[in-house]
């Protein structure tokens, strides 16, 4: 056991820091610090900067153009990015679809789609959930029927909660290709062009006023058979593989660290009883409790991710990271709005760029209450925390639970 970083790791941290220092545009980090929406263009810009550096795909093997970092390197990058208020990369293409293609896709699919993910030519979104199929994902009904010529699937149905679908030109979908068999055995994994006829995207406005998710409707949408990933009716296996990847970064340690720094900054500016709130023992205790949890989580995360990096896809531990990681993040969001006192009340939202300019924000807190509400999603999506607990219990107690 050695808890110190090696010389190589220290050098890597210095390299990351220097890169962020030089290449992260100030107006971008300002926006992230203030909790503002980066927008499509901003996202694409940061994506391109990372790609140029060769750091866009830390978890991809080198042969596909990835950085192939180990767990410690990824952890260091995550920490430094959070501290520098660097944007997060939209994960759908890079860390969800790509691992599936690399493991289950054809050579042609990898040759065609992976470079487009890196270049940013395609913006991917995730079409799993449906109105009737949330936690019970396998009950999904969107169907794909092969045409007589055998050249195209005809897709009909509706996906929902599609994050940033309004920016995307491609969607990876789970579709039903066999209705007669057991639910899990009739699902296929299909790549669909959102600009094709028969695809319609409708906005859903979230409770903090943001347009973050969408409904995606398919009516007789034609999808070439080349866009089937792996084998027909084996999509459930690929979907589950993807979900474990979706959950690996879900502990969000970097987000929590940045969030906690912000809480302390707000609580030093906010006055209570004539002293900074941070000096109030009651508030300080709340902050310390979360900080202790977060310190342990940072190590839990590293331990689990290093183990997974040894080859196997992370299993039940990723469920543990998700549950505890999201509890910590949500607690930090709660502390931030608490710290801001009455100044949490104005409707500061990330929704419209510049819309917060006219708001009073003497604490420089940003939209803390809106973020608190928005991040209630963390324990709902990517497999709700109840579903994760169910997975943990089932695994740890065998058939007994």
């Amino acid at each position: 056991m050695d808890l110190s970083y090696s010389d190589d790791e220290k050098a890597f941290r210095a390299e990351v820091r220097a890169f962020l220092d030089e290449k992260l545009p100030k107006e971008m980090s300002d926006k992230i610090r203030k909790g503002e929406e980066l927008g499509k263009e901003g996202q694409e810009k940061w994506h391109a900067i990372l790609n140029e550096q060769g750091w866009l795909a830390p978890n991809w093997p080198k042969k596909f153009g990835g950085a192939e970092w180990d767990a410690v390197q990824r952890h260091i990058f995550e920490e430094e990015s959070a501290a520098a208020y660097a944007p997060r990369i939209v994960p759908f293409g890079l860390s969800m679809l790509a691992p599936v293609l690399q493991k289950f896709g054809s050579q042609e699919q990898n040759d065609y789609w992976l470079p487009r993910i890196l270049s940013g030519e395609d913006w991917w979104c995730q079409g799993y959930s449906e109105p009737g199929a949330g936690s019970d994902l396998a009950s999904l009904k969107t169907e794909a029927v092969l045409n007589e010529e055998g050249t195209h699937y005809i897709v009909n149905g509706q996906k929902t909660w599609t994050t940033l679908g309004q920016h995307a030109n491609m969607i990876f979908c789970l579709v039903r290709t066999d209705k007669k068999v057991k639910q899990q055995e009739g699902i296929s994994f299909l790549l669909i062009d959102m600009e094709a006829p028969g695809v319609e995207v409708r906005p859903i406005i979230l409770l903090d006023g943001t347009h973050e998710v969408n409904e995606v409707w398919f009516s007789d949408c034609k999808v070439p058979v080349e866009n089937l990933v792996g084998k027909e009716n084996e999509g459930w296996t690929y979907a589950k593989y993807l979900l474990t990847h979706e959950r690996t970064n879900i502990a969000g340690v970097g987000f929590s660290q940045a969030g906690l720094t912000a809480v302390k900054r707000i609580a030093r500016a906010e006055m209570s009883g004539g002293k900074p709130l941070m000096e109030n023992p009651h508030f300080a205790a709340r902050v310390a409790r979360v900080e202790i949890d977060l310190m342990a989580m940072s190590t839990t995360n590293l331990r689990i991710v290093s183990k997974a990096a040894a080859g196997t896809a992370p299993g039940v531990e990723s469920s543990m990271l998700k549950v505890k990681g999201t509890i910590i993040r949500q607690e930090i969001n709660d502390l931030a709005r608490r710290a801001a006192g009455a100044y949490a009340m104005p409707f500061a939202s990330e929704a419209i760029e510049g819309s917060n300019l006219a708001l009073p924000d003497p604490l420089n807190a940003g939209p803390v209450a809106a973020q608190y509400f928005n991040n209630r999603k963390l324990s709902i999506f990517g497999g709700s925390n109840e579903i994760q607990r169910q997975i943990i219990a089932k695994t740890m107690m065998g058939g007994g639970a």
Binding site: S129, G134, S135, D136, S139, T160, W161, I204, I205, L206, L207, D208, G209, E270, M271, S272, G273, G274, L277, N280, H282, F283, R286, Q330, D334, R337, R338, G341, A342, Y343, A344, M345, P346, F347, A348, A358, L359, P360, P362, A369, A370, Y372, F373, R376, K377, S379, I380, F381, S384, N385, E386, R389, Q390
Partner: protein
């Protein structure tokens, strides 16, 4: 002991609930939320006609209620429907302070308030005061027969709609002294007042109010010079009873929606309420609801008691409602899943009302500390 409402209060509750059920559905309310004024004059006038504002004043003051239980009955119903119109600011706070401290000329305004034609805002909190009600740094200086006010007031709810502001200002002493604070009734269009208005996350609007050499006649003072603190504290206690009752009503709606959803939403072929992980949490929410109701009843019942009994019961209620409210809001959203995250679903607004109520006149922690201090005093 008797825990039933009096016949009058029962009628008040019934008619208010009926009115809001008919006129204040999710769609109507969301339209009000998005409007420029953040406020519906129709609703305001309709409720004034129904006697809702009158119920918040005593007979002596020209109303027909005004006790802690009247406030609790009215605000629980307002909370149940997620009402954003500023009854708290105009009636309980502004109107209440005029009723408590005003001279006959000033009290003449109460009739207009009850009739629904006068709007008020209470300009008290400041950027550096957080929840300390004694921290007033806005100054009041005599200038001949006039008083000149200077300072800044933070997050003044309903300031833009208000015809008059009730402004606290210091005539003497240090920033944190209880002594030396006065209240002034200032026309909203007085020279030297600037408003920077904005919408609030949980509905309604507020403004930052800057007072720059605002000159008012000494007769604009409410009550004795420098002696307003006790009245402010008592009125904020009444406001906190109102806020707790409102939160209770909102919590009831959250629980009702969640219970209904658990029984109808199906996943894995059964209603999700059959999963014990959710069923037990729903049970916990219902247990907390009973506790919250008791805390509100006890606080309302002590509003007319001596200072220590009043303040410690009010702080107890605000602390308990803060904790139970957060649990109910967060668990209700969680047990709904994605649907509760959408703006057009009723629970979204209700959850915001519950959580943001913790940001007015002291949060859970503030009132815990206050409760401890009062017990030690």
């Amino acid at each position: 002991m008797n825990f039933d409402l009096t016949e009058e209060r029962q009628m008040l509750q019934d008619s208010l609930r009926r009115f809001l059920r008919d006129k204040y559905g999710t769609a109507e309310r969301n339209k009000i939320l998005e409007s420029d004024t953040g406020f519906s004059a129709d609703i305001w006038n309709g409720l004034a006609e129904l006697g809702i504002i009158g119920a918040l004043f005593t007979e002596d003051q020209g109303g027909f209620g005004g006790a802690g239980f009247d406030i609790a009955v009215v605000f629980e119903e307002l909370g149940r429907a997620g009402v954003v119109e500023p009854f708290l600011d105009t009636a309980v706070l502004g109107g209440g302070l005029i009723a408590d401290l005003g001279n006959d000329d000033q009290k003449a305004h109460i009739e207009e308030i009850i009739g629904g034609t006068l709007q008020l805002a209470f300009a008290h909190g400041e950027p550096a005061s957080r929840y300390d009600i004694n921290r007033v740094s806005t100054t009041a200086k005599a200038d001949g027969d006039n008083i000149v006010l200077n300072g800044r007031k933070a997050v003044v709810v309903n300031a833009e709609n208000a015809n008059m502001l009730v402004v606290s200002a210091r005539e003497s002493g240090d920033v944190g002294d209880e002594d030396g604070i006065s209240l002034y009734l200032v026309p909203a269009d007085a020279k030297g007042i600037t408003l920077q208005g904005y919408a609030l996350l949980a509905g309604g609007r507020a403004a930052e109010v800057t007072l720059d050499d605002v000159s008012v006649p000494a007769s604009a003072r409410l009550g004795e010079a420098g002696k307003a603190f006790m009245a402010i504290e008592a009125r904020i206690a009444a406001a906190n009873v109102a806020i707790c009752a409102e939160t209770l009503g909102a919590m009831e709606t959250a629980c009702r929606l969640t219970r209904d959803y658990l029984m109808t939403r199906k996943q894995f072929g059964k209603p999700i309420g059959t999963f014990q992980a959710l069923a037990h949490r729903m049970s916990d929410l219902l247990i907390e609801m009973e506790q919250a109701r008791s805390a509100v009843i006890v606080a309302a019942g002590h509003l007319e008691h001596d200072r220590k009994a009043r303040e410690s019961h009010v702080s107890a209620a605000k602390n308990l409602l803060g904790r139970a409210g957060r649990l109910v809001a967060e668990d209700s959203i969680q047990m709904h899943g994605g649907i509760a995250m959408t703006q057009e679903y009723e629970l979204a607004h209700i959850a915001k009302r519950i959580i943001m109520s913790d940001h007015r006149f002291g949060d859970t922690d503030h009132h815990l500390e206050r409760y401890i201090a009062l017990a030690a005093a």
